[in-house]
């Protein structure tokens, strides 16, 4: 921790900081909090503990660190200490609403990190094992799994952004939603070209954290709101730490099978594997996708939309 020189290179890469722009949400801010706790200048509190648990574990801060601070290790150790000290905070971990949980155990079986288990009649999350990928969100038939703080990636947050973009009267060109993985495609794209890239008016980029967090319902909502197509950018399957890429592919196949039976073209939902650090592949893929759905036209005629 002492090797942190407070340069702030980690800022650019942290999805939590990018969402709030608050120092306390950056890896540097969290290190300073921990430093304060260790030196005794700060008293541990639920607020501080919760901040330390608010992390998507993408590890980009560690990769970007000019001083080689092992941030992942530091934060993991801090979380373990906070749990030992009795802090019962949620942060960005996934939680189950026990009142509606049907105990189907699907979330327990599917968690690649083995973070969920059935104890004393309830599904509980091991907050140290949970990587906040959110792959469990769509598995729950009771809609009983939530992520404490989504930083723009939770289903309701995505839904409102979809509605806003596709129903903006000042943007008649809006026709597609592009979901980007917060681990692979988006950070590379964001760090490399975002500032120079002219954002298309035809599609909105929404970050999903892991693509496995994307709910089928969110994709359908995009079409209900008038999207001509949806592009999902995930990690290459063998690079996804959370099993999210395979999962989102299976879910989208389930939907496109329905689409086919409804005489809606299957290629209105497309999935592209974009490895880390390949923004050109993303822009080429998005351009090709927009051209394809542009030639298809709207999925259906929409009353009251130009």
């Amino acid at each position: 921790m002492n090797s942190c020189i407070r340069c702030g290179y980690c800022y650019e890469h942290c999805p939590v900081f990018k969402s709030t722009k608050w120092e306390i949400d950056s890896p540097r801010g969290k290190l300073i909090l921990l430093y304060g706790l260790l030196s005794g200048e700060l008293e541990p509190s639920d607020y501080i503990a919760n901040k330390i648990f608010e992390c998507f574990h993408c590890g980009r801060c560690q990769k970007a660190c000019a001083s080689g601070v092992p941030t992942l290790e530091v934060f993991d150790a801090a979380r373990a200490d906070l749990i030992d000290a009795g802090f019962n905070v949620v942060g960005t971990t996934s939680q189950t609403n026990h009142d509606i949980c049907a105990r189907c155990l699907n979330c327990v079986r599917m968690c690649k990190h083995e973070a969920r288990s059935f104890v004393d009649g309830k599904i509980i999350t091991d907050r140290l094992k949970c990587r906040s990928c959110g792959s469990c969100l769509d598995i729950c038939s009771e809609k009983g799994i939530t992520i404490g703080t989504g930083y723009g990636t939770n289903p309701d947050e995505l839904s409102s952004k979809i509605k806003k973009f596709l129903n903006n009267p000042e943007n008649p060109d809006a026709k597609a939603i592009v979901f980007m993985c917060g681990w692979s495609s988006y950070p590379g794209f964001q760090a490399s070209v975002y500032d120079k890239f002219e954002i298309s008016r035809e599609y909105e980029i929404l970050v999903t954290a892991c693509s496995g967090r994307l709910k089928s319902q969110t994709v359908l909502e995009s079409f209900e709101e008038g999207a001509w197509g949806v592009l999902i950018c995930c990690c290459p399957e063998n690079e996804c730490d959370h099993g999210g890429s395979a999962r989102v592919k299976a879910r989208m196949k389930y939907l496109t099978d329905f689409f086919e039976k409804m005489d809606i073209e299957k290629n209105r939902i497309q999935i592209a594997e974009i490895p880390q650090g390949n923004p050109k592949l993303f822009t080429d893929t998005a351009t090709k996708f927009i051209k394809e759905i542009g030639s298809l036209g709207p999925a259906f005629e929409r009353v009251g939309k130009c």
């Binding site: 509606i100 049907a102 105990r103 189907c104 155990l105 699907n106 079986r109 599917m110 769509d138 598995i139 729950c140 038939s141 009771e142 809609k143 089928s216 319902q217 359908l220 909502e221 079409f223 209900e224 329905f258 039976k261 409804m262 005489d263 809606i264 999925a299 259906f300 005629e301 929409r302 009353v303």
Partner: protein, 221 residues
Amino acid sequence: MVVAEQKPLKDILSYIDDSKRIIIAGCHGCVTVCSTGGQKEVDILASLIEIAGKKQGKEYEIKKITLQRQCDPEFLEELIEMAKDYDAIISMACGAGVQLVAERVGPIKVFPALNTTFIGVVETKGEWAERCQACGDCKLYLTGGICPVTRCSKSLLNGPCGGSHEGFCEVDPKTPCGWQLIVDRLKAIGCLHTYATIVEPADWSKSRDGGPRRMIREDLK
């Protein structure tokens, strides 16, 4: 649990062809546990119907509800009250739930969204398999806890047929021979002698052949 799978969407759409105001009713029971008829599936079906409607130039008015269980009359009351303003109900419960809704809801059309397939178990994530045919005369005490009626494709009660080949069934080479499973299990628990017990011809009147069945418990009346 009762396991069910969703009907083809085109079938569901054909049922509601002349309806506009629709209720989609899920069930928090077995069909939630087998991920076919819970709140999430209600949402997805509602969205699919809405999109399919728009594709055909038709606007549906869809109300979504998920009941505690559709096989208990008390839990239907909210749905019955709501149904007065709608043209049709699509039930995402098992066949029992759909029927109780139809019996109780009055003169409104009730359609199934699911095909009820079997009583079964979770074998591994995302895979369910049949274990019980509700024959009404359980033989599991004789067969090491493996059901010959269900696991044997021909429901034979006294050992395998000649189509058992290297532990698999001639009806489907991917299906383990039920009687091979039974014999292996009897050996494992030291009860192979029960294999020699001749089982009398089954009384199928206790199964579906005797017509619709009832269970009455005077102590619960």
